[in-house]
């Protein structure tokens, strides 16, 4: 009897445990579903464009089949050209020719108008020869064009992701660097991380002493300082950036002031420069670094510092051994927050940065809005997202920091 009762009791506790852990999940389910549908799904759909580009394969079914029986390299024979002409003719009739031409042009600069010319030619009569096609489209007589078309007929492609690292498939079937004059993204990624690092360090240099002062003055004064820090924080980022334009420009407030004080003898070029960009970004990011530091500093008990001092520790030792370890989580959280936000900066580099200060977001925006090459934009976003998440995981794993537990 008693054993049955005990096992019954046990089952009940397990059941209660399970429902205890399920209940919060069930309560959060609507939110999680909303996030998955409105946030997760669109991101996945957009990022999948980085590796899935079916336009070329869809437009060239016959060519794909003909290429399969042709040799693997170089300019193919007559049957492939015949199939190519037939495909283009059909694509033109279906209205798909322009999108195909534009997509091919991304991989094969200059191909757009030549492909359209071949399509017009194919539409006129039936027997279009290889010779006639190459005459209308000289690009199609080159080996490298056909290796571009061959790789393009794969619906799943590594082209855009490789491009994001300034790499490409060479004619020999190996991965190599793109020509130097086309290499841009590795440099821009490097620049993005460099500027994010510099801004993070600058905000830290300002925020740490400020937070320390705020914890050690009278609450009224601390409150006033906090409002002064938060006031710009509540202002739109665009407004703050525009305000910095007024201050930094050649005939602006800062230059006027420096000249009047006699600090400089001629006007500094602060607009459209990296210095100006870092100044403005540091100002915008300051609250993000400051607030986590301030919140942990307030929690440090002064009695511990006094205890350390009374046990004979020098001020620097107290700071290093007692104070710093306690505020470190706040410092790391603030720095990580600022660093990650800096990686995505867009409007400030546009307005204040020079041509060589544009960050990766500016390039993503250009591909989305101007070039209509959403595949390339997706590939760059993917690299940015993965490196940001990687950084976050590394920080939480190895430095024992958890932003979710911070709050």
């Amino acid at each position: 009897m008693s054993s049955i009762a005990i096992s019954g009791f046990k089952t009940r506790t397990i059941a209660t445990d399970r429902s205890d852990s399920l209940r919060p999940l069930a309560l959060a389910a609507p939110l999680l579903l909303l996030l998955a549908f409105s946030f997760g799904a669109p991101i996945v759909a957009l990022l999948s464009r980085a590796v899935y580009e079916p336009t070329i394969a869809n437009a060239l079914p016959r060519t794909v089949a003909a290429l399969r029986v042709d040799s693997a390299r170089g300019v193919p024979g007559e049957p492939v050209f015949g199939a190519f002409a037939a495909d283009l003719k059909e694509a033109q009739a279906a209205g798909a020719i322009y999108e195909f031409a534009k997509t091919l042009n991304t991989r094969l600069p200059g191909a757009r108008s030549q492909v359209l010319r071949v399509a017009r030619l194919a539409g006129q009569d039936r027997g279009v020869t290889k010779e006639a096609i190459i005459k209308a489209a000289p690009l199609l007589g080159e080996d490298q064009s056909w290796s571009a078309i061959r790789t393009g007929t794969n619906r799943f492609t590594s082209f855009f992701l490789l491009s994001a690292f300034d790499l490409r498939w060479t004619d020999q079937g190996t991965i190599g660097a793109v020509p130097a004059h086309q290499a841009v993204f590795t440099r821009v990624f490097g620049r993005t991380f460099l500027i994010a690092t510099l801004v993070t360090l600058a905000t830290l240099a300002l925020a740490f002493p400020l937070a320390y002062v705020m914890t050690n003055v009278r609450p009224v004064i601390a409150g006033i300082v906090l409002v002064l820090v938060l006031l710009p924080f509540w202002t739109s980022i665009l407004v703050r950036t525009a305000a910095w334009t007024v201050i930094l420009q050649k005939y602006g407030l800062l230059n006027d002031l420096l000249l009047w004080l006699g600090v400089t003898s001629e006007r500094l070029e602060l607009m459209y420069s990296r210095t100006g960009l870092i100044i403005a970004m540091t100002h915008i990011q300051l609250p993000f670094t400051l607030l986590p530091i301030y919140s942990v500093m307030r929690a440090v008990q002064t009695s511990q510092l006094r205890a350390a001092q009374s046990l004979g520790a020098r001020p620097f030792t107290v700071f290093r051994r007692v104070y710093l370890p306690q505020v470190m989580p706040g410092v790391l959280a603030g720095c990580l927050l600022t660093f990650i936000l800096c990686l995505g900066y867009y409007i400030t580099p546009v307005l204040i940065g020079g041509a060589s200060d544009q960050l990766i977001s500016n390039f993503i925006a250009n591909y989305v809005n101007v070039e209509l090459n959403w595949e390339m934009a997706a590939a760059l976003s993917f690299v940015l997202l993965v490196s940001t998440l990687g950084l976050y995981v590394t920080m939480t794993r190895y430095l024992g920091l958890d932003l979710f537990k911070m709050g």
């Binding site: 209205g95 322009y98 999108e99 031409a101 534009k102 042009n105 991304t106 600069p109 200059g110 191909a111 757009r112 108008s113 004059h181 086309q182 290499a183 841009v184 440099r187 821009v188 620049r191 420009q249 050649k250 005939y251 607009m271 459209y272 546009v350 020079g354 041509a355 060589s356 544009q358 390039f363 250009n366 989305v368 809005n369 101007v370 070039e371 209509l372 090459n373």
Partner: protein, 349 residues
């Protein structure tokens, strides 16, 4: 239960009311343009008069001329605009991507009445503007005589502003390097020609401030941030005429371009949009814009209707057409993406 019925009934009733309101407001046309001085000129010259004439409501939106926004509308099947102003190269791009519809010219005007290159498959020209050089007469004692003087840092030292794009700048670079105007696009179509153009731009790279919006060049001149800048002629002319700025325009070696208007795929008021395009193609109407911003008409029969005092300010005035290049849309359709990437790589170096 009763409450639920009542609420449902109420919801249905209000839906019915909303549905009834909709047709009453149907006689409206929505246009999206690139804003600024130019859009207000379009409004005064064409939008308001057409709205009055057709008895409709003319709504306006603004954007920065980027096709991505229209593509997103078309892909999601929610196109709240009927007309959109675009640059010539954008028309070609939008045509290829299936974002803009192929126009039925029988509903607009005879194609032969348009200036060559202004009646495209997916876009109709609305005005002729010039990419020119502008400077502040109080800053430069000696006047530049050609747009190509922007490459002469010895004679004209100081910062100069150019549009942050390869188009026009590469053409000018080749012209400054001695390529005859007639051969510019032929040379630029070869890898050596592109190298040559970038090499020429290299010589002034450290002195260039880059602008992106059309409103920036007059501001850059006014704040004395630069000594000279490339610009769209209308923005500078309006700064001279309306804001009384001491600016001057250099026309020699200008690049002539056209602004276009197009209909996005899935536009809801297609008939009305066509009616507007037909209206704007009437010679007398086409000539109206020049009074508000000095851009020329694209209708070949409109010139007699342009006011006498406006004519000499237009890019097409005989004095301004001594040496000029017409922007090649097909070339930029082919090489645009590639050259933009190379241009960005060059900027980053």
């Amino acid at each position: 239960m009763k409450l639920i019925y009542r609420t449902t009934l109420l919801a249905l009733a209000s839906a019915a009311i909303v549905a009834q309101i909709q047709p009453a407001g149907a006689a409206e046309l929505t246009v999206m343009a690139t804003g600024g001085e130019w859009q207000s000129a379009l409004r005064k010259a064409w939008f308001d008069p057409f709205a009055k004439k057709a008895g409709i409501q003319f709504n306006e939106q603004e954007y920065t001329g980027e096709l991505g926004k229209i593509k997103a509308m078309v892909e999601t099947g929610n196109v709240p605009i009927d007309l959109v102003t675009v640059e010539t190269s954008t028309v070609l791009q939008g045509c290829d991507a299936g974002v803009l519809i192929r126009l039925d010219y029988s509903k607009i005007a005879d194609r032969s009445r348009f200036l060559p290159g202004t009646a495209l498959d997916c876009g109709v020209g609305i005005d002729v503007y010039g990419d020119v050089l502008a400077y502040d007469t109080t800053v430069l004692k000696e006047a530049p005589t050609s747009v190509l003087d922007i490459f002469d840092t010895k004679k004209f030292p100081g910062k100069r502003a150019m549009r942050k794009a390869p188009a026009q700048n590469l053409e000018w670079a080749l012209m400054a390097d001695g390529v005859p105007i007639a051969d510019v696009y032929k040379v630029l179509g070869t890898p050596d020609g592109v190298d040559r153009a970038f090499k020429k731009l290299d010589t002034i790279k450290k002195d260039i401030v880059w602008w992106e919006a059309g409103a920036q060049p007059p501001q850059l001149l006014a704040s004395k941030e630069v000594v000279m800048t490339t610009a769209w002629n209308g923005r500078i002319q309006n700064a001279i005429d309306k804001d009384k700025r001491p600016f001057a325009i250099v026309w020699n070696n200008q690049i002539v371009e056209y602004d276009m208007i197009a209909i996005p795929k899935g536009a809801k008021n297609l008939d009305l949009a066509y009616k507007y395009l037909a209206y704007a193609a009437e010679p007398e109407v086409s000539a109206q814009l020049g009074q508000h911003i000095p851009y020329g008409p694209v209708m070949s029969d409109a010139t007699p209707f342009v006011p006498k005092d406006v004519l000499p300010k237009l890019p097409t005035a005989p004095d301004h057409m001594k040496a000029y290049l017409v922007g090649d849309v097909e070339f930029w359709g082919d090489h645009g993406e590639d050259l933009v990437k190379r241009f960005n790589a060059w900027l980053a170096q």
